[in-house]
């Protein structure tokens, strides 16, 4: 049991993704340790969301292996699991770059939907539920409690019955994370969770993620552009550029890596210097 716990929770090996002639991700390998907050960063177009979509079952990788290990030793090859199975069996949950809440349903309902699978079982695939069997009512009450717990954590208890679509942006982002947590994941994948948040909200996000990691032991993998979030809370950073991994290590090391700086800020163009010199500028 200890062996499995010491294993990285997620191992990505030689992952490549091709769309026709375009190579979006080129031979990417990295691993994420259990209980770590791992960040995937890089300029726009680097392939980060593509990697995410491969890990979370929305794309089938052209080449490569993605292995997820639970503490009990169960292994899942994510490149072969699709669709809903990644969340249901491998227990990987995610949020989306453009928030995908259920806008016409209340915050509470959103969180209840996340607990669909255990509730379906408890309702005997609905048949028992129709007749109001006690085991189902109990399960439902437990689910509501869990939802209440998370609503409390993200400060939305008062707005539990408001439609998710009417909540302010920052609240929606937090709700999406809470909804992912209600699905009881071992790996939480967040796609730009801090996008559009101001400084205070980013700070609250950091707290929330640290809390999730500490209290629930959930490993977190996140894509992010906001360096204040990334540097503050990540244990491990992987940097992509044009589909290739250009850096992989602790935040301090990555921050000072010249290749990373070049990727974000651009490289000094020698040809331009020559041209300027010739023109006498």
């Amino acid at each position: 049991m200890t062996d499995a716990a010491a294993e990285p929770i997620l191992t990505v090996e030689h992952l490549s993704m091709r769309f026709g002639g375009l190579v979006a991700v080129d031979d990417l390998s990295f691993s994420a340790r259990r209980g770590d907050i791992t960040a995937l960063i890089g300029p726009n177009g680097a392939g980060k969301t593509t990697v995410f979509n491969c890990i979370t079952g929305f794309y089938k990788p052209s080449v490569g292996m993605i292995r997820l290990t639970h503490t009990n030793g169960a292994e899942f090859l994510l490149e072969r699991l699709f669709d809903f199975r990644i969340s249901k069996h491998a227990r990987v949950a995610r949020t989306f770059q453009n928030i995908r809440l259920f806008p016409g349903m209340t915050a509470l309902e959103n969180l209840m939907v996340a607990q669909h699978n255990p509730l379906m079982l408890a309702s005997g695939l609905t048949f028992l539920g129709i007749f109001g069997i006690a085991s189902f009512t109990q399960a439902e009450r437990a689910a509501i409690d869990k939802a209440r717990y998370w609503l409390d954590r993200i400060g939305l208890i008062e707005r539990a019955d408001d439609p998710a679509g009417s909540l302010p942006y920052g609240a929606q982002r937090r709700l999406e994370i809470a909804r992912a947590m209600c699905a009881d994941p071992v790996l939480l994948c967040l796609d730009e969770p801090a996008a559009g948040l101001n400084v205070r909200e980013s700070g609250e996000l950091n707290e929330l993620l640290m809390f999730i990691r500490a209290e629930h032991g959930t490993s977190i993998l996140l894509i992010e552009h906001d360096m204040s979030v990334v540097m503050e809370i990540s244990d491990h950073i992987v940097v992509l550029d044009y589909g290739l991994k250009i850096a992989d290590g602790k935040p301090a090391a990555v921050r000072d890596d010249p290749k990373v700086i070049a990727a974000y800020l651009g490289v000094h163009d020698e040809e331009l210097d020559e041209a300027h010199a010739e023109a006498g500028l």
Partner: protein, 449 residues
């Protein structure tokens, strides 16, 4: 310049443009109607076509268009009346708050109808027909309103139910009470069968394929004469009995057993209560399912399918369940239809039926039980009311569909009631609720990060 003269100058200027626009509308109308309305083709004595001119009719219609356009330009533009907002939002909100009472009142009325109108066979028949469509509407509501799946072939399951009943009764001699559940099971089985290959299609495509299925069923019914008797249909479908007591004038019959004087109305009243119970069962099951995980999954599916998948919900099974449930209730309704009429033929199961039920669901507000019931009553009542204008009925129906989509696309009941509350009950404005979606143009490009 005084306000008065500014106003009158503006008015005159408006009049010219209004006149021009109205003329343009009249010209367009003339173009559209010149050949098809202005000239009539009839089959002459030799079999060839004979033309008759109808210049007067054409002139009248073009004139009406001109007048209408002029009125619209002058009056409405001047006052800025938006036709869709005749009723203020406050009033609507209050009306919707009374929703529950309205529902109970309607139910009470429905129960009392046979008692109040006992001797009016016409009204009882009308009531039965309306309730049949209410049931169909509630059934389709599960598929379209809750799960957001565009089903344009609902009539197929209706037909399966009706034909199953007729054929089972004809070949095996089962009574209504056995055939009814069997028909429902067959229909839902058919729903799964049809649903399985197509449920990963998106919006518009799903609509067309379900439409194709509906038509295929109808064509098979017409052409597979050995099984279905083809276009002649099946006659002599057994009538229902009162739990074994037939509704005839014999000694073992219903009337005699209960010491009543025989009347054909007994069967009609029984049929009425039967469909009422069937419809109510549909309603209650739907309400109950909405509170269970499956119902919530249906609505989540409608809101955002990708998010559902990311939460571990098996969207294929969820869609199949919605399809099967909807099909089952259509099957029950079909059974009832067969026994009520005593005769069925493929003509009763055309695409127009599917369109009608879909219109009921959309007009009702997609997801609202009461809305669907009221919409069914209004639509079918309207249909009956205009019975004399048989040909124009359908034309008006089509126009009504277009008009409703333009003026009140959300339907009669524009709110959604959440299925579970933490603190206090509140309805959600329909603006926020995602309706059955089809693909949008921005998804067509290959997207990658």
């Amino acid at each position: 310049m005084s306000v008065l003269s500014e106003h009158s100058t503006g008015h005159r200027f408006d009049f010219l443009t209004a006149l021009k626009r109205a003329l343009l509308s009249a010209l367009i109308a003339f173009g559209l109607f010149s050949l098809l309305i202005g000239i009539r083709t009839d089959t002459g004595p030799t079999g060839a076509l004979v033309l008759t001119g109808r210049p007067a009719l054409l002139a009248i219609i073009v004139g009406l268009v001109f007048a209408g356009a002029l009125v619209r330009e002058l009056i409405l533009r001047d006052r800025g009346i938006a036709l869709g907002r005749f009723v203020s939002p406050d009033l609507l909100a209050r009306a919707q708050a009374l929703g529950k009472f309205v529902g109970l009142a309607l139910l009470g009325f429905a129960i009392l109808v046979p008692i109040i109108f006992y001797h009016d066979r016409y009204l009882l028949d009308l009531g039965i027909m309306i309730l049949t469509y209410v049931m169909l509407g509630w059934g389709l509501n599960i598929v379209v309103g809750l799960a957001g799946l565009l089903d344009l072939g609902y009539v197929a399951f209706y037909a399966v139910g009706a034909y199953s009943y007729a054929l089972l009764a004809e070949n095996f001699g089962f009574s209504f009470w056995i055939c009814l559940p069997l028909a429902g099971i067959l229909a839902s089985f058919w729903g799964i069968l049809l649903g399985f290959p197509v449920l990963r299609l998106r919006g518009d495509y799903l609509a067309i394929v379900t439409l194709a299925f509906g038509e295929m069923i109808r064509l098979v019914l017409i052409n597979w004469q050995n099984l279905t008797h083809g276009p002649d249909g099946i006659t002599g479908v057994p009538r229902p009995s009162f739990f074994g007591l037939p509704f005839n004038n014999d000694d073992g019959g219903f009337a005699h057993t209960f010491g009543l004087e025989w009347s054909p109305l007994h069967r009609i009243v029984f049929l009425y209560y039967l469909i009422l119970v069937l419809a109510l069962v549909t309603n209650l099951v739907t309400i109950r399912l909405r509170r269970l995980p499956i119902g919530r999954a249906w609505e989540a599916l409608r809101e955002d399918e990708i998010a559902c998948r990311s939460l571990g919900i098996n969207t294929t099974n969820t869609k199949l369940t919605a399809f099967a449930m909807g099909a089952m209730f259509a099957g029950f309704a079909g059974s009832f239809f067969a026994t009520r009429q005593g005769f069925i033929s493929p003509e009763s199961f055309t695409f127009t039926e599917s369109a009608l039920v879909l219109a009921i669901v959309v007009l009702g507000g997609m997801g609202s039980q009461i809305g669907v019931a009221v919409a069914a009553a209004v639509m079918l009542g309207g249909f009956e009311f205009f019975r004399e204008f048989a040909q124009f009925r359908m034309l008006v129906f089509g126009l009504a569909m277009v008009a409703i989509m333009i003026w009140r696309p959300r339907g009669l009941v524009a709110t959604r009631t959440p299925s579970i509350f933490l603190n206090r009950e509140k309805d959600i404005n329909a603006e926020l609720v995602r309706r059955a979606r089809t693909k949008t143009w921005s998804w067509r490009r290959a997207q990658h990060d």
